[in-house]
């Protein structure tokens, strides 16, 4: 099944492990992620002011590309891209006057007709394949691996874009359960990691990383699983500075959900791109007998 796919900038750079593991695991699921023939940065954050249309141009331009490629749906992976594309799309559906203004502004583009649907990969897998089908395709169950799922903000909020119940989401947990993992009750799964303050106000992020990882440890998790390169940077790579600030801090591997999906479906280890993870997840995966 061919699926139109918007990667976003970070998946081509620091989060290549997210992209390659997603492409590989989708192939094993029978989904062919077809990158848009042209795309641009989505702008990363949705503009919250009523009088600003300028910043909606970037996400909407990408949705025009989906149209041009002949698709009605687009799948994305990064939480920030997902949130921005989807919120901008919802706005266009709700405000025809603004859509007209924006179409006029982009007069050399074809008009955007707001009937493209923006999907996060996890929803797409759930709705199109179903987790039963995923379970049947598992070659290497994640038996014994205790996982804390971390959604952060942008997959659950605001309401117009939420993947699942915003206070008690299960969509990611259910997928990982289908893969054989053991899910840990993790109360901070929808807390904020500090996001872009990692530049400029790093201390905010170090406090959050300490809090979020320490809680996952206390709850008994072996690894934390997520779907955002921003959260991943803060919760994985920033563990280095967190340890400097809090000497008793205990590190924990942080993985993209697609990395575990790829392993469970019997994909190649090279397609997980683990060399880009800061805290090495290989020892715990070996210890559990999930990889050799």
């Amino acid at each position: 099944m061919e699926v139109s796919y918007f990667p976003g900038c970070t998946l081509k750079q620091t989060a290549r492990n997210f992209e390659i593991s997603a492409i590989s695991s989708c192939k094993l699921l029978g989904l062919d992620l077809t990158e848009l023939s042209r795309w641009n940065c989505c702008g990363t954050v949705y503009s919250l002011s009523t009088d600003d249309s300028m910043h909606h141009l970037a996400p909407i331009r990408n949705l025009i590309r989906v149209q041009e490629d002949g698709f009605k749906e687009v799948v994305t992976l990064c939480s920030m891209c997902y949130n921005t594309l989807k919120q901008a799309n919802e706005l266009m559906k709700k405000e025809p006057d603004r859509l007209k203004k924006m179409n006029d502004f982009m007069y050399r583009e074809e008009d955007y007709i707001p009937d493209v649907e923006v999907y996060h990969l996890v929803t797409y897998i759930k709705e199109r394949l179903g987790y039963e089908k995923v379970r049947e395709l598992v070659k290497q169950p994640l038996t014994g691996l205790k996982v804390a799922v971390y959604y952060g903000c942008l997959l659950l909020r605001p309401d117009s874009i939420k993947l699942d119940d915003r206070e008690n989401p299960m969509i990611m947990e259910d997928l990982l359960t289908a893969l054989g993992a053991e899910i840990i009750d993790y109360p901070f799964s929808n807390e904020c990691c500090g996001s872009y303050h990692t530049l400029g106000q790093k201390e905010i992020v170090l406090n959050r990383t300490n809090k979020l990882i320490t809680e996952a440890r206390r709850d008994g998790a072996d690894v934390l699983v997520l779907s955002c390169p921003e959260c991943d940077f803060n919760l994985d790579h920033r563990q280095k500075d967190t340890l400097e600030k809090y000497p008793n801090f205990q590190t924990m591997p942080v993985l993209y959900f697609t990395q575990l999906l790829n392993i469970a479906l019997g994909g190649n280890l090279e397609d997980c791109g683990f060399e880009l993870n800061y805290i090495d997840p290989l020892p715990v995966l070996r210890e559990k007998g999930i990889i050799k």
């Binding site: 750079q13 990363t44 919250l48 920030m80 903000c153 605001p158 390169p229």
Partner: protein, 136 residues
């Protein structure tokens, strides 16, 4: 502490602009404090989210615009989705930041941000979102 509430401050032009830009009615808030209870940035704030909106209600806009709070908010949307009155405090925070940013008063320098990002492999989305939120 004695606070003097002045009519001209309460309906000042700038407060009306904040309401307009955020699309939110500040008088919907009944000060239950739920926004502050759930705000992950509350620890780093000098004015709690419910105090931010209270100050706007009583016309003390300078206290809000000069606060650290509006710059440590990371737009996580928690206050908005949990508010029993449906107050979109997330957009109100954004509007307050824009009051400063739209005077061309950037809160971070592009050069410093890029330089800092080169020291480590900072994700591209972090650089862009920081600049989107803290510069005009």
């Amino acid at each position: 502490m004695k606070i003097e509430i002045k009519n001209e401050e309460v309906r000042s032009e700038i407060i009306q602009r904040i309401e307009e830009i955020s699309g939110e009615n500040i008088y919907k808030c009944y000060q239950c404090g739920k926004c502050s209870a759930g705000c992950p940035s509350a620890d780093e704030m000098d004015l709690l989210p419910n105090q931010v909106i209270r100050n706007l209600q009583i016309g003390k806009v300078d206290a809000v615009l000069n606060s650290r709070s509006i710059w440590v908010c990371a737009t996580c949307y928690m206050c908005w989705i949990r508010c029993p009155r449906g107050v979109n405090l997330t957009s109100l925070f954004e509007a307050c930041r824009l009051m400063t940013l739209r005077q061309n008063l950037d809160q971070v320098g592009l050069k410093e941000a890029i330089k800092e990002s080169e020291e480590m492999d900072i994700p591209q989305i972090a650089i862009i979102s920081l600049l989107r939120k803290l510069t005009s």
